[in-house]
Point group: C2
Chain length 179, copies 2
Amino acid sequence: MDQAAELFAERGYHPTSVADIVESLGVGKGVFYWYFSSKEELLAEILKSSHQDLRRRQQQAIADEPNPVERIRLGIRASMQWFCEHRKHFTIFQFAASDERFAPVLRRNQEVAIADAVRHIKDAIVEGNIADQDPEVLAQAVVGVVEQLTQTYIFERSEPVDRAADAAVAFCLHGLCGE
Amino acid sequence: MDQAAELFAERGYHPTSVADIVESLGVGKGVFYWYFSSKEELLAEILKSSHQDLRRRQQQAIADEPNPVERIRLGIRASMQWFCEHRKHFTIFQFAASDERFAPVLRRNQEVAIADAVRHIKDAIVEGNIADQDPEVLAQAVVGVVEQLTQTYIFERSEPVDRAADAAVAFCLHGLCGE
DNA sequence: CGAGCGCTTGACCGGTCGGTCAAGAACGCG
DNA sequence: CGCGTTCTTGACCGACCGGTCAAGCGCTCG
């Protein structure tokens, strides 16, 4: 499944044939259809498992951190680190978002991620560290910043994750105006 | 070309055949290859012209506005308005970003958009309305926020553009912490 | 009128794709 | 060893795709 993700990311979903996948694995075509009912199901499975993996990483990173703002900072950092290590999944996510068959799966995954973020934002609002605005809007905006900076600075320019993560955190906390 | 964009957005690039496109136009296949050398060139052309259209809209919106922060606000608003009216192009952009053949074109387009934003951010820094940080990072972050909020609130939840735009502007200016 | 050219048609081609299936290998078990 | 189950193979199928091209339409201009 990991090998298939690699191929999907390199060449795109449609241009990668089932024949390509099984060949790169050195197995016959039958074995593919023994474990997956279709090529479509394979991609859905990749989407699901990578989302779980990212979420696990976020939870590990913020475990036991009492300060909610610090949890957000660590979550952003962990997410960017994960994308850096799993660049291929980023491309796959982008494709999936553009395909009507996979967009719903992706949307549900993102709803979970947003819900996670919302919890910490609410905590921070209660503690008075974050202004009292709609937490979901804030969470969506944070996700947007993280994805954009990840793509530009980590993938396209290969800058260190730390630098990009610090920039993302700084913007998310204080926006254009600074503190 | 507009009709083709519609189909690409609805069904995706690969699943939309040249036969589908010419059929929906009620013309023969030959006429397609008279005007475009390939299906790939058609998409590249769509990418190019829609980028120009969006940029024109931004420039119209901010024309004659002396205050750089206000220009940024108007630019964000105009962009979200444009995406709202050209939803199909948003989906196409997403697909293009996931395909190695089109990603370079898209990247150049985005570089232009970022450069536009950077100019106004620099002006605002000079005037002291925006903190003195790397303007390009700020511009990238703004783009991320705009794209994410557009997708979630305008496309998925059909909220009014004004509300989404106000939320984007508020976040971009002051981040999580508020003013 | 008719020669030439820009434009249009749609049958056709070579090739590829997702998915099937009959055949059999590998293995556990009595 | 014989038998059933699980897993594996790769040739094969029908469908479809991007792209070509010989043929023809209709407009302009001499």
